[in-house]
């Protein structure tokens, strides 16, 4: 259930667009920010709110890689392995992450502390290799600094 505060935010956001459908991405962002992921129940609620069929909402959620229809671990480690990062050692970064978290890309650890994802270019090629945790970018990594970073997360 969306909180009253978020429902108020959504009312404001809707005014920016000519149709209520256009508020879908911003509303899904708010929903995900509130719950950490977007459940079927939430998709149905968002659909009702914006007068959209559930199928449309599901179609949009499943199209965009940043919307999660499964719950994630406490820390979502996204490591870029695209060319600029690959050339500067993202293999070693990914290995360090797998070693520390005990999971492969696409998996969540049993204790639900880590979700690891291999992602496409994050627009930080000047700081390659890099990873992101939430909105924070960590750049110019080495396997050692990656290990240290992950070790600092409780």
């Amino acid at each position: 259930m969306l909180t009253q505060e978020n429902l108020n935010r959504i009312e404001e956001i809707r005014k920016r667009y000519a149709t209520s459908q256009a508020a879908l991405l911003p509303v899904l962002w708010i929903a995900q920010e509130q719950e950490g992921w977007i459940s079927e129940e939430m998709m149905r609620e968002v659909g009702k709110l914006l007068d959209l069929p559930y199928g449309h909402v599901l179609g949009v959620v499943s199209f965009y890689t940043m919307f999660h229809s499964e719950p994630l671990g406490k820390y979502h480690i996204e490591v870029c392995t695209n060319v600029s990062c690959m050339l500067r050692g993202s293999d070693g970064i990914l290995k360090a992450i797998e070693h520390h978290c005990g999971v492969k890309p696409g998996e969540t650890s049993a204790d639900r502390k880590w979700t690891v994802s291999e992602v496409e270019c994050m627009g930080a090629c000047g700081g390659a290799p890099m990873l992101a945790i939430g909105e924070e970018y960590y750049e110019g990594l080495t396997p050692e600094s990656t290990e240290k970073l992950l070790g600092s997360l409780k």
Partner: protein
């Protein structure tokens, strides 16, 4: 050269500092001109879009109908996701007010009262920086109702994407803004006739828009003399890969690629030889290291060299680089990002990646090299949007210019059978 898009001024992202250095002066000046005079100034400046297609910006603005019974919209494209490209992020962080000022000037020139700046979802932190700058601009009357006491009003909203490369394609961006999957649209109709919600719409890249205040402030004649004559102005070049100091560098267009690598990015570590350079983001055609001599970062020079400026995201690869792995990774990207609407792209990108995976493992076959070329040729030009071409060009150019790299990865037994 003096830097204009990313000036070397501390705290330039703060509105007071921006104003102290003449910020929002271009907006004041523009509001004193007729809208068509503003468009004309941009047209004469020869500014070309910085999002990849190098389309003349002023000309694009003239496509918008002057009289329209429908609302008109501006979408500023900040969905930068082309591998090797990281310039817009620098603008959001270091010079957000130039983006806001340019957006409002563009709206004034085209009679637009609503603009959306579409930003890639991964840039959450930088979107908040821009929102802060936008709030400050609203508070000072540079955006919103009756801007600076004139009769002109326009609203600017930020719209956050959610991790789809294809939404950087202008018609997919519009569908995404409308709350749909980011599927590109068939053109025509073009956005200026039938854009967001069926209304006249112009889409400009973030960096392109940041050039607009500069042109208005200094005049088209001044601007058109910077850099390459047919593709003038300052340009943000990202240099990444095997260089000592990767980063974004503001230079006049027409800078030598070798200078960008050696002087700006500090050369190649260990003074190794350069094997290959991707000059403008991963979709642009790869060049052999020895072929970049004398080539310049502008549309004409790179075209003559057999590639393109793209988003000016250069990826440098030294002599130790496994190019088969590079092209395999690039192909995986386009396969992942294909929206799936058009069969040649949806299927072809996957086939290409699977075949390249075999080469990566040393299990390629000689006939696969031609097969790869055939698939790439079948994608190019046969899809709704340019993602198909973007997937095909790197493969075609890699085979044309580095065929030996593929041949080296053919399985020995397969060689015997073929001969």
């Amino acid at each position: 050269m003096e830097r204009y898009i990313l000036p070397d001024i501390p705290d330039y992202s703060a509105i007071d500092v921006y104003e102290q250095h003449g910020g929002y002066g271009a907006l004041k000046k523009a509001l004193g001109m007729k809208p068509e005079e503003v468009t004309d100034e941009v047209k004469k400046s020869s500014l070309r879009g910085r999002g990849g297609a190098c389309f003349p910006t002023g000309l694009k603005w003239t496509f918008m109908p002057k009289q329209s019974t429908k609302a008109k919209y501006l979408c500023v494209n900040g969905d930068e996701s082309e591998p090797g490209t990281f310039k817009d992020r620098q603008i959001l962080e270091l010079n957000p007010h130039a983006l806001i000022e340019g957006t409002v000037i563009a709206c004034y020139a085209m009679g637009i009262t609503t603009a959306y700046i579409y930003l890639r979802g991964e840039y959450g932190k930088w979107i908040r920086m821009l929102q802060k700058a936008l709030d400050a601009a609203y508070a000072k009357g540079y955006v919103g109702e009756k801007i600076l006491g004139s009769g002109f009003s326009t609203n600017v909203y930020l719209h956050k994407g959610a991790g789809a490369y294809i939404c950087g394609e202008e018609s997919a961006l519009m569908n995404s803004l409308e709350g749909q999957r980011g599927y590109p649209r068939v053109k025509p109709p073009f956005p200026a006739q039938f854009g967001v919600w069926g209304c006249p719409t112009t889409i400009n890249n973030v960096e392109t828009i940041c050039n607009v205040p500069l042109i208005i402030n200094k005049g088209w004649e001044w601007y058109s003399k910077i850099g390459a004559a047919k593709h003038p102005g300052p340009i943000l070049v990202g240099v990444s890969g095997h260089v000592n100091k990767p980063g974004v560098f503001e230079v006049p267009t027409g800078e030598l690629l070798t200078d960008l690598i050696d002087k700006c990015a500090g050369g190649v570590p260990g003074d190794k030889k350069i094997k290959a350079v991707i000059p403008g983001g991963s979709s642009t055609m790869i060049l052999r290291g020895e072929a970049i001599e004398g080539v310049r970062m502008d549309a004409d020079s790179l075209k003559a060299a057999g590639s393109s400026v793209g988003t000016a995201g250069m990826i440098v690869m030294d002599e130790t680089t496994d190019l088969i792995r590079v092209i395999s990774r690039i192909s995986k990207f386009y396969y992942h990002e294909s929206c799936g609407q058009c069969t040649p792209c949806r299927e072809g990108t996957g086939w290409i990646w699977k075949i390249l995976k075999r080469f990566e493992l040393g299990e390629g076959q000689m006939k696969d090299i031609d097969l790869l070329m055939d698939i790439a040729n079948s994608i190019e030009g046969n899809t709704i949007c340019a993602l198909g071409d973007a997937a095909a060009w790197p493969v075609q150019s890699m085979i044309r210019r580095f065929r030996d790299e593929f041949e080296k990865r053919v399985k020995p037994a397969a060689v015997a059978v073929a001969s």
